[in-house]
């Protein structure tokens, strides 16, 4: 049952990802990517990481992709005028990506031999546990991430300002 759900979701995610890459209209690309993100959120739920799933939706679907859509609409880039690359270039890209996949799968297969926990703790992905981990072991990285975020915000505002008075 779970396996069937997983396989369905996996096929759908891959399909949506491919559609995202091949869609001519960038807005369609964004929408396919959003759907792909939903399937990934579903994967998270399947992994019993509910908090992660919801945060994933809030952050990616709710914020980042809206930003993409926003910029696309703002720049009015909905025409299918994106110049295409030559066929030989696409072929080279496919070869490169394919070989990367083969090597990563090969590399990661080795990592799979690590011992799995026999009695997995189902509450790993719950807020309480994650909160403890985040604010106990990762306080400093957390703060640093906050500062990074602040810097990115300021940077984005600065970059986006039309005429900067310094």
């Amino acid at each position: 049952m779970t396996l069937a759900i997983f396989l369905t979701l996996a096929v759908v995610s891959v399909l949506l990802a491919l559609l995202m890459v091949f869609a001519k209209n960038p807005v369609h690309s964004v929408l396919y990517l959003i759907l792909a993100f939903f399937t990934i959120a579903a994967h998270y739920i399947l992994l019993n990481a509910q908090f992660l799933a919801v945060v994933h939706i809030i952050v990616y679907a709710g914020a980042i992709m809206v930003l993409f859509l926003f910029v696309l609409m703002l720049l009015n880039l909905n025409q299918d005028t994106e110049p295409q690359k030559s066929a030989s270039w696409k072929f080279a890209a496919a070869i490169a990506a394919g070989s990367l996949m083969v090597t990563t799968v090969g590399a990661l297969k080795g990592a799979v031999q690590l011992q799995q926990v026999n009695n997995p703790n189902p509450s790993v992905g719950l807020v309480k546990n994650l909160g403890t981990v985040l604010f106990h072991d990762f306080v400093v990285p957390f703060e640093i991430a906050g500062i990074l975020f602040l810097a990115a915000m300021v940077g984005a505002v600065l970059v986006g300002k039309r005429d900067l008075k310094l």
Binding site: K85, W89, A92, A93, A96, A97, S99, L100, T103, T104, G106, A107, F135, H136, D137, V139, V140
Partner: protein, 635 residues
């Protein structure tokens, strides 16, 4: 109580935030009230801590894990034991008085709020340094103190010289910090932890390589040298007089320079294991003390004299530390905090009254115009000189007793000389400033005034403390109340249920002690009396710089130490650099590089076509690289 402990350092931080962010919108009164108010609260909390510790034990508060990498777990935590609570009392208490004083002293300064913000930050850093429960916290405070001293010394940064002094202080401190940092690294390597509890606990039970311990001690002491202005890193301190006078008082009396003493006292378990390191500390301390005292003899800037006196007193403290009398050193830190703060603030009062004049040759006869300042300065002078039953008398006497016991008569004699010199230059300063006739301009005489109450009140309080401060730790042989109270206090059980500073043993007969005491005291009294008459005579007044000759000139130029540093380190470095520049750099390296460069340029012209600025080519190159990288793990 434990939840309130973090507020002790964070209250000044809050004060800093308020004054720093909104200070320019607040009235000067409000800024002053906030700046000193937070410190008063800290002081009260500290007193509460002190009360709790009176029944023994230690308070340890763990705020959150600051770093957790592999085995290294560093907490943002506070440890309050008998030693740190004592230091906290000094820092917050004296610091509070200095804050109050600053309200009056800095009243007409444009950077009033900035000054208070810096002061609060300074206190925060110092409290962090003292209260931290591991070496990393100590290092934070250490660096924070260094930064604040830089900011405060260079407070009047429009003056280039002051800016230079600030930089000098900062760089000298950085040299010492390197030693401290290396010491901390070595501690982690040796003990596998940086927590005081773990490190000192292991010291009591385990056995360690003697040379490693010695190395750690020396490295830590190098850090202390920088912060506490010992040879050879002491030259920044007199230059640090560039800052406003309350800053000098704060740096010299309560904070900053005592950090080194605190560090060594904190690590007393380590130092007592290494005889070599202790001797090193004692030697440096004694040498510093003598050198600074000699220089102090012929300085004409009222603050410079006090600055060298501080260096000299710090030397005495390290002498005590080196002799294993850690309690005595802290005792001297305490009494010194009282009378040095008093002296600096009184000097500030004089400078304030004279509208910025600092040269004692332009003073004189201030006794009549500034009666309060005169009296408190008198108390300060007598206290630092070791006048019987004043604060300095007891602490110095203890230092010499230990010096005699552990170092022998020669060490003792040299130490006593230093104490004697202290009396000499202090008398000179005092008599020249307050007696005789006024030698400044007519205008100065006209404007001369006693300082306002907000300045004199802290002075009087400090004067009172300077009088009674010595009774904290009366020698046992004098049978004055409960003898050696402070030593008993420090010997109380702290962390790990071990004494913070074990009682030092003094194998001297009572009669010997009496003798030593009477000799030094007698000499000091003699000096005090003799110089009164000496400086009544105008012939003996200090002369202008150009008229100095012989030993005086050498002393006035501080043994030409700054010039020596310049000659020994700076100039050879420059000359060597020039040499390298011409022959190695320009001729050899540049030649080689240029020729290689032209070859490569020719080659690059071909390769440039690869670097076409097209992102896609880069990307595919990146992917190919990644593939190769992963593949390389298998072949």
């Amino acid at each position: 109580m434990n939840t309130l402990v973090p507020f002790i350092p964070f209250l000044p931080l809050i004060g800093f935030a308020i004054n720093g962010l909104f200070g320019n919108r607040l009235s000067k009164n409000a800024v002053g009230m906030i700046g000193s108010g937070v410190l008063l609260l800290s002081l009260l909390l500290t007193v509460a801590c002190f009360n709790q510790l009176a029944s023994g034990g230690a308070i340890q508060v763990n705020l959150y894990p600051f770093l957790a990498v592999d085995n290294l777990r560093i907490n943002f935590g506070f440890l309050i034991d008998q030693l740190s609570v004592w230091m906290m009392l000094i820092v917050t208490g004296v610091g509070f008085l200095i804050h109050v004083y600053s309200i009056g002293y800095m009243h007409d300064d444009a950077g009033f709020y900035k000054f208070f913000a810096y002061l609060n930050l300074f206190i925060f850093s110092m409290l962090l340094l003292i209260m931290g429960d591991n070496f990393v916290m100590l290092f934070f405070g250490w660096e924070g103190v260094g930064l604040c001293s830089y900011l405060l010394i260079g407070f009047w940064y429009e003056n280039r010289e002051y800016g230079k002094a600030a930089r000098k202080a900062f760089i000298m401190n950085r040299i010492g910090d390197l030693g401290l940092l290396l010491g901390i690294f070595l501690i982690y390597r040796t003990f596998g932890s940086l927590d005081y509890g773990v490190v000192f606990g292991q010291l009591q039970t385990g056995t360690f390589d003697h040379s490693v311990i010695t190395t750690i001690c020396v490295l830590l002491f190098i850090g202390a040298m920088g912060k506490s202005a010992q040879i050879p890193l002491y030259t920044w301190l007199p230059d640090a007089m560039a800052g406003p006078t309350p800053v000098s008082a704060l740096i010299h009396a309560a904070t900053m320079v005592t950090a080194g003493v605190y560090l060594v006292a904190r690590c007393n378990g380590m130092y007592s294991l290494s005889h070599e390191a202790s001797s090193f500390v004692a030697t440096i301390g004694l040498a510093t003390s003598l050198l600074a005292a000699l220089i102090g003899l012929r300085q004409n800037d009222i603050k410079k004299v006090l600055a060298y006196s501080t260096v000299s007193q710090l030397g005495l403290m390290f002498l005590a530390l080196g002799m294993g009398a850690y309690t005595t050193a802290i005792f001297h830190v305490t009494t010194h905090a009282f009378f040095k703060a008093l002296l600096f603030l009184a000097a500030g009062s004089v400078i304030h009254g004279l509208g910025g004049e600092q040269d004692i040759r332009n003073m004189g006869g201030l006794r009549k115009h500034m009666p309060i300042t005169f009296w408190v300065f008198l108390i300060g002078t007598f206290a630092i000189s070791g006048f019987p039953f004043l604060a300095g008398f007891f602490s110095k006497d203890e230092i010499f007793a230990y010096t005699f016991a552990h170092g022998g008569p020669i060490w003792w004699a040299m130490g006593a000389t230093s104490a004697l010199l202290t009396a000499v230059y202090m008398c000179r300063l005092f008599y020249v400033t307050f007696f005789g006739n006024f030698r400044g301009t007519h205008e100065q005489e006209h404007h001369m005034h006693e300082s306002p109450l907000v300045m004199t009140l802290p002075l009087m309080l400090l004067a009172a403390l300077s009088v009674v401060g010595g009774f904290l730790n009366t020698p046992h042989f004098m049978h004055l109340g409960e003898g050696q109270w402070l030593a008993h206090w420090f010997a109380g059980n702290g962390l790990n249920n071990a004494p913070v500073i074990p009682m030092a043993e003094l194998h001297l007969e009572e009669s010997t002690e009496w003798t030593l005491m009477l000799v030094t005291t007698g000499l000091v009294l003699l000096v005090l009396a003799a110089f009164y008459f000496l400086y009544q005579n105008t012939r003996n007044l200090p002369v202008s710089d150009s008229a100095q000759a012989g030993v005086t000139k050498v002393l006035a130029h501080k043994f030409y130490i700054d010039e020596m540093y310049d000659f020994l380190f700076v100039q050879p470095m420059e000359r060597l650099s020039k040499l390298f520049h011409y022959y190695v750099d320009v001729w050899f390296i540049d030649g080689v590089v240029n020729n290689i460069g032209s070859v490569i340029q020719g080659f690059g012209a071909y390769v440039r076509k690869l670097q076409n600025g097209n992102i896609e080519y880069y990307l595919i190159g990146m992917v190919a690289g990644a593939v190769l990288l992963v593949l390389s793990m298998y072949f």
